[in-house]
Point group: C2
Chain length 430, copies 2
């Protein structure tokens, strides 16, 4: 005759029956949890989901049991690998600067990745022809008259690649992703088409680690971690505010390099994301970029414009200057900046044209002034918001750089103007 079961035993049996549907075991005392764990194993009910449920209790005995029994643990990345779980369509705007009228093939190629999101298209104010955008997208187009209507007279030049910044101003979302209209989705080394939107969101939603370099790159990536010697106090990381993606095929070179290496194409898919360390400066390219608009908006401006800047990426320094300002501000406020994945595939339609304006390009001299300036820059501890930092930065640019070249005085003007525009137009959130 079987002994009469205890009430406790019956309760545990009842729990075991429903184990696959339970959401939380953390309130069960440790010794009962261990008992339930053994019963679960005996009953053949230890699925991956159930194991996670037990591990989530942080009960030391359970952790030890799992090790001793050599139970293969489900990989538990810091974040779920399917990022769609944790970012909402409503958090993201895609901003596209239209420098060519026909965006049909661009939109068709990006359809699988863009169609979930609201898309802001800003038409280059210098371009007369009407835009062609296929149907099936949630698109709002802004034109020259929208820019003038909203902003009135402004010292900021929104023509060419700079028009995308107007999109940052009118977005109401937390995150903005911007990709040049001559880029198509890239393929990774396995031949899979890269979802640049999701990768940017992973970059922005997982922490950055600017205070120590991790030799295995992004420690939050599936299959990676912090290497030996990485201080534990730094393993929580900081919030990532800017994600600077890369390009395959036609690389982002200056006019000289384009001319010298006209037949060279970037084919090296480097499967890594990394935080650019504190204090290290980098050339952020506007080709393929994402950022936290709510926080970083006041520093995402078209500030520096070289005199003969045209419609080509190799002409511009506006994004490089923007990136240096953003990096200095992030460093000062303890935020992170990442570079690496995602790649986009850049068309080489303009690759051969760099020779035309080679002699006029003043980017060479400019950068040799700009970099030492940023490297020696320290923003004061009293600048505690991005807006504070930009105002201070603008005044230092006016003092230190403007005497060297009038384009820096104009950059300081634009930066100050931008902080006002941001306050009146950009700062509202959805």
């Amino acid at each position: 005759m079987r002994p009469t079961p205890t009430l406790l035993s019956l309760t545990l049996d009842a729990a075991l029956l429903r184990i696959a549907r339970l959401q939380d075991l953390s309130r069960i005392p440790d010794h009962l949890l261990v008992d339930l764990f053994h019963r679960t194993i005996s009953a053949g009910k230890l699925t991956e989901k159930v194991l996670k449920l037990f591990l989530a209790t942080d009960c030391e005995e359970i952790v030890l049991l799992v090790q001793l029994l050599n139970i293969k643990q489900p990989l538990v990345p810091v974040l779920p690998t399917s990022m769609s779980l944790i970012f909402q369509d409503s958090e993201v705007d895609i901003v596209i600067a239209a420098l060519q009228p026909n965006l049909t093939s661009f939109f068709e190629a990006w359809q699988p990745f863009f169609s979930r999101f609201h898309i802001i298209v800003v038409k280059d104010p210098d371009m007369a022809a009407d835009l062609k955008i296929p149907s099936g997208f949630d698109v709002k187009v802004y034109t020259k008259s929208d820019i003038e209507g909203l902003l009135g007279a402004t010292s900021i030049n929104f023509s060419g690649h700079s028009c995308r910044y107007f999109g940052y101003l009118v977005s109401r979302k937390k995150y903005v992703i911007s990709i040049d209209d001559n880029c198509l989705p890239a393929k990774d080394t396995a031949g899979m088409t890269v979802d640049a939107v999701t990768q940017h969101m992973i970059n922005l939603k997982t922490p950055a680690t600017p205070f120590f370099f991790n030799t295995l790159y992004d420690p939050y990536r599936k299959g990676a971690d912090f290497v030996r010697g990485y201080p534990f106090s730094l393993r929580e990381g900081v919030e990532c505010m800017l994600s600077s993606g890369l390009w395959l095929h036609n690389a982002d070179y200056d006019p000289m390099t384009h001319v010298v290496k006209r037949n060279q194409r970037n084919t090296n898919y480097v499967d890594a994301v990394m935080t650019v360390p504190l204090g290290a400066m980098m050339p952020v390219s506007g080709i393929n970029v994402a950022f936290n608009r709510e926080v970083l908006g006041p520093v995402m401006f078209p500030g520096l414009r070289i005199r003969k800047e045209g419609k080509h990426r190799w002409d511009t320094l506006e994004d490089i200057w923007n990136g240096l300002c953003a990096k200095v501000v992030c460093d000062s406020l303890g935020y992170g900046v990442k570079t690496g994945l995602p790649y986009v595939m850049r068309s080489d339609a303009e690759a051969g044209k760099a020779l035309e304006s080679l002699k006029d390009w003043e980017g060479v001299k400019v950068m040799d002034n700009v970099l030492p300036f940023f490297q020696s820059l320290k923003l004061s501890r009293t600048a505690v918001t991005v807006d504070d930092c930009v105002k201070e930065l603008a005044s230092i640019v006016r003092e230190k750089l403007a005497p060297k070249n009038p384009i820096f005085a104009k950059a300081a003007d634009a930066m100050e103007e931008w902080t006002k525009l941001w306050k009146s137009h950009g700062a509202q959130n959805a």
Copy 2:
């Protein structure tokens, strides 16, 4: 009747006949060079080699002609891609710390890459068993009695992984490459076995770029370059002194991470080399490392030894400390440090054993003291050699860190001792 040829024309014809064998055209006046170039094309003799010959003259008209005629230029990397051309077998020593007696499979696996070089094997002084090394290598083995015989009484502990530093002391070569004895050659993404020696030498022989981050990674690599915005004044780079390679399979984690992620293996082959930026600190691992011994020797010491340090990599901090010291010194003297390729394949023989000594491991606390120290460290401008820097560094360690934990006082002792040992034993070159 054909006109009588001029002497000049005959000379050019003669040159054309021998064009494939000429080594240098730089002394030919530009207008004759252009004439010869046209004749070469007409004669169908413009091979890749000949084109290089013409381009090497730096004659502007030739460069323009090549562009106008849209002649596909041969890729001219900054360095020849076959590095065997520019590094000598006699420049390199391979240093192996033998922590296990049977090195047969290790040497057999590395045979294609090691057999050209002199190999220094340092036997862990704690290991009694005789070493097994296959024949066919130029090997010199150093044992406990060699260490004691050469150095006499020393405060430096050369046991365990630290024995390899004795090899650095007795090497007479310009470069040293050291790989742990539980590592085998890795395969790249194309399935090709990686020649770690050549990759380390490429890293050391091409410049490093610590002053600005290049988003396309190593700009000197074939197919890569400096991206737009990279200041031209920084494109020559600086000399690279240290190359920190990586590991596939069993990653280099601390004991905690090994226990938590006992089933996780590093499978992500990231095809990149990068300079760790000025001021950024990183955890250099001794598993797979190479350096310029002539310059960096005085800072390549086993300084920090945690109390329960055993024979496992996850026990040690000696290489992490070494790397931080080397990085600070390189930063101060304007040298570069690279990380990334080459990978080696690390065996996981020891992967499961980390749990045993988990509770005793004091690496957690130690690194949380060490990193802020190195990050705030500035060596004085009067320290102009690596030896100067190490002496200054040792005294700052004694002043700032030693009061926190006696292992730092021992580290300072070891660093001072090492500078003396280096002067008397290490500083001679071949």
